[in-house]
Symmetry: C2
Subunit: 299 residues, 2 copies
């Protein structure tokens, strides 16, 4: 049976470490990190993610600046807000929720995500989505100021479980800008041999079954079956898909991209959904905010 | 026997197309594209690459602005030169040779490549090495202003030979910022399923032998043997290594990363060294310069 990687427990541990650092910053310099948590509109899944971010900030002592913009806000107004946040010395990171981390669909169709994200000061890009940060993440010998939170969380789960990536075969399933692509770049920087499989890959199972490490980020409920995995593989499941479940009061439950029950009989390590990668995304956002603040506060 | 992909002939064809476009730009707008070809110091291999660039410009009617900086020029002076070129409206591309394309070793140790390259205006970054261009190359739904010349040349060799990349397994050998990484990103954008193997990959031959398309960019003379290849594979050899050859007057000859003789018996398509990828790098630099000029001249 696979060992379960408990993302909730690891994230809690990281929250504790961040809270300590925030306290010591505050004592030594009289300043605390600040994170602007911006949301456009009222979509439910985005709202719940934003609530998590704000709650987590409060827990560790990061000051969150909460901005709720109406659904019909113009792109120019969002950009003006970003510029204000860039200029605000109490804000060390800007994390606008223009889309949902769950389905990556644009929340507000009239707002061009690229236009907004590229206006965020590179020094406050705590989501790590600015193309300049992605470029530096991709390149050998360069370091981004911030790494995207979910990919960084995946690698943190590995390292805190004592799993090395060096020389390992890693297969990333999915090539989104938010998870698949950057997690592949991170694994490559960590000396893994990386393959990205995607919707155009014929027979993905033939490649996945060679992997020592599988990162599942395709957004397809339970697509990865037990017999797709190499025995003993490490499986990090980034998927969060809701499937109908009449046995539940809500009528649905959340499942990953991996068939958990089957995989748990084959894999060596496995993250659950929920409670695996999910909590790590917020933990890494707090960590990025702390790091950004330290660069500004400690000179 | 493998079909030989004749890079010299394809590059010549592209030169012809560029020359036509340059002529028509000149007739319609009274302006020609300009490329600043900058070289620091006198190293032989860099000089020969720079000479090729200048000669090719002359051939197609691109105006090359030739700047030869002394070996002991300071980083600040190089950056000042870059700033002048950024401001010069007759220059549509800046291509500084700070290192040799052959061995990628820094030519002038006291000059930090990253500092210089990141000062080149993104709109004149015809080498495509700016991290912002690399980031956009990596990301889905984003387009870089310029793609790095050698990787772009590799894909051009494929497409002009009628070879599709969609759904194919591609293996890139080597992960340099100049070739390995960006060619992997380009192949991925073209819907191939891409694996990068590198110096930390155990048993690279086990991965290479699964590839429909192999891009060899490791800088290791003849490392890829015939029995490492899947029969019928397309093999693009980016390597240019000089090996001792007492039978030649010069005492050496150039070979690729692929054992050409062995590979030609197994592969379906193969590029020679020299005369394969090499001429494409310069052709793509001219193409990027033309494209940059068109963006400025045709409004």
């Amino acid at each position: 049976m696979a060992k379960i990687i408990d993302g909730k427990a690891i994230a809690k541990e990281i929250h504790g470490e961040i809270a300590n650092e925030v306290r010591s910053l505050s004592e030594k310099y009289g300043k605390v990190p600040g994170l602007a948590v911006v949301i456009v509109g009222m979509r439910k899944d985005s709202q719940s993610y934003v609530r998590m971010k704000r709650k987590a900030c409060a827990e560790v002592g990061i000051k969150s600046l909460d901005l709720d913009l109406p659904e019909d806000v113009s792109e120019a107004e969002v950009i003006a807000t970003v510029h204000e946040l860039n200029a605000n010395p109490d804000v060390h990171g800007s994390s606008p929720s223009l889309y949902s981390p769950l389905d990556l669909a644009s929340l507000a169709k009239h707002i061009n995500e690229e236009n907004v994200l590229s206006e965020i000061s590179i020094e406050k890009d705590v989501d790590g989505f600015h193309p300049l940060n992605i470029g530096k993440l991709a390149m050998k010998g360069r370091e981004p100021l911030f790494m995207p939170c979910t990919p960084k969380g995946c690698l943190e789960l590995l390292s805190r479980s004592g799993i090395s990536t060096k020389g390992k075969r890693a297969v990333v399933v999915g090539r989104s800008n938010i998870v698949g692509l950057p997690v592949a770049l991170l694994l490559q920087k960590a000396d893994a041999t990386v393959t990205i499989v995607h919707s155009r890959t014929p027979d993905p199972e033939k490649i996945i079954c060679e992997a020592d490490i599988v990162i599942a980020a395709a957004g397809q409920a339970m697509m990865i079956k037990g017999d797709w995995l190499k025995p003993g593989a490490v499986v990090i499941d980034v998927g969060t898909n809701s499937v109908d479940d009449p046995s539940r009061k809500t009528g649905y439950r959340l499942v990953g991209d991996v068939d958990f029950e089957e995989a748990s009989k084959v894999a060596g390590w496995l993250t659950p959904v929920p409670g695996g990668v999910g909590p790590m995304t917020v933990a890494m956002l707090l960590k990025n905010t702390l790091d950004g603040a330290k660069r500004k506060i400690i000179q």
